[in-house]
């Protein structure tokens, strides 16, 4: 088995960051008003993801465990700013249409998530391929969402008019665009249906194989990102460093907090199953 191929397959299909892991929702919803915006965002994120995965894998023996999250954040932020300058200088149109969401790539959970879950533990080459796979998976996902929204909302694809639009003033018949799809509510709507469709496929496949029906992905992707990957470990670990005298209280409270969240999630899964 070619390992690197497996990594790319994993990123695009098995652990697609958008549809399966449900990570990086902010850009997924915000910039998908058109397919070309989706591609621009996806490729920028891919670039940052590959570079940060590479560097973090290189430095994984040097970065101490307890300060790894701040180190990741610095590395990611630096790459994001570099990508931002490059876009501004060489592809100003993309830079303009993505605007605020370029610097916000820093807090895209996909990047910190991959750094933590993969790059920090694996070799440089594999981490690069993991970044490529995840990046392509993300790019494909948001391009598809963008395309659907653009097509229904404006009758266009990649900025070109595909379906002739009705013009009542000129007395011309045609397609009346459902504008709401390119507005904010449309983003939620399209994503809801795509995930529901995917749940449906999963359930069907599971039924055919007589496997137990998997619980719907629900919000645990998000919660997991917030709890386990990005937030919690950073805090609890740094805390043990910084407030050593209060260690006992801290761990106690932390575990309490964690069980609270866990039970919440568990009950949710129960409700779903």
């Amino acid at each position: 088995m070619k390992n690197w191929l497996e990594r790319i397959y994993n990123g695009i299909i098995k652990e697609n960051p958008t549809f399966v892991l449900i990570l990086g929702m902010c850009p997924t919803l915000a910039v998908t008003t058109s397919a070309s915006n989706g591609i621009g965002m996806g490729l920028s994120t891919t670039a940052v993801l590959v570079l940060s995965n590479m560097l973090i894998a290189m430095l994984r023996k040097i970065i101490p465990n307890s300060v790894r999250i701040p180190a990741f954040i610095v590395i990611v932020a630096a790459f994001v700013t570099m990508v931002q300058f490059l876009l501004q200088g060489f592809v100003p149109s993309v830079y303009q249409s993505l605007g605020l969401y370029i610097p916000l790539i820093v807090v895209n959970c996909i990047i910190l998530g991959r750094a933590e879950a993969y790059a920090y533990k694996n070799t440089v080459m594999m981490s690069i391929f993991d970044g490529i796979g995840m990046g392509i998976g993300f790019t494909l996902a948001i391009t598809i969402i963008g395309l659907i929204r653009e097509l229904i909302g404006a009758g266009q694809a990649f900025g070109r008019q595909i379906i002739p639009v009705a013009d009542s003033a000129a007395g011309k018949g045609g397609y009346v665009p459902v504008t709401i799809f390119i507005l904010a509510p449309g983003a939620f709507l399209v994503l809801a249906f795509l995930i529901a469709f995917q749940n449906y496929l999963k359930r069907k496949a599971a039924k055919r194989a007589h496997r137990p029906i998997p619980a719907a992905t629900c919000a645990d992707g998000c919660a997991a990102c917030g709890n386990e990957i990005c937030g919690k470990p950073l805090i609890s670990e740094e805390k043990t460093e910084k407030t050593e005298n209060k260690k006992e209280v801290t761990t106690e409270e932390k575990s309490e907090a964690k069980t609270e969240v866990k039970t919440d999630e568990a009950s949710d899964k129960e409700a779903l199953a």
């Binding site: 008003t33 058109s34 180190a71 200088g89 060489f90 303009q96 404006a154 504008t179 390119i182 507005l183």
Partner: protein
Amino acid sequence: MSKMIKNAIIITVITIVAGVALGLVYEITKVPIANAEENAKREAWQKVFPKAELADFETTEVDEEKAKEAAASVNANALIDEVCTVKGGDEGYVITVTDKEGYGGDVQITVGIASDGTVTGISFLELSETAGLGMKAKEPSFYEQYANKKTDSFYVSKDGGEGEKIDAISGATITSRAVTGAVNTALAYYRSAF
């Protein structure tokens, strides 16, 4: 304790290296970024003043006081970024305005005004509105409404007002208002400064 210091040193080194690397990239990309902006600006000038040659445009100083007054007099939250004379003002002026009231961010446009006060045309430098809605401002059917009109001010159809009427882009009144506000600011500045 020593472990803590070691960690602190490592993270500091990473941060410094990242900062320096960023500075380097910044220096390298500074020229292309400036070039890209300059090119976009030139194109916009030519577009709003098709008759003039590139050499005819000359940047002049912006009178900050008058710029503020101009924006206030037309109730716009706008800034005059740059003013150019065309053939020393004989042909007219090109005024670049940023309106801060766009839906998705700032709206920056270039307005060409002939020496007799006629708007020769407008062109967008920065527009990050919703695709399919506010972005339609870039379609000729909208922006050509401003061209070749001699008036003191424009107003958006929905709001009413004095001067020339502009049909708002359907579903994007905020964008239409921002663009109109910017054009009005440019006109007000033109009247007070030249």
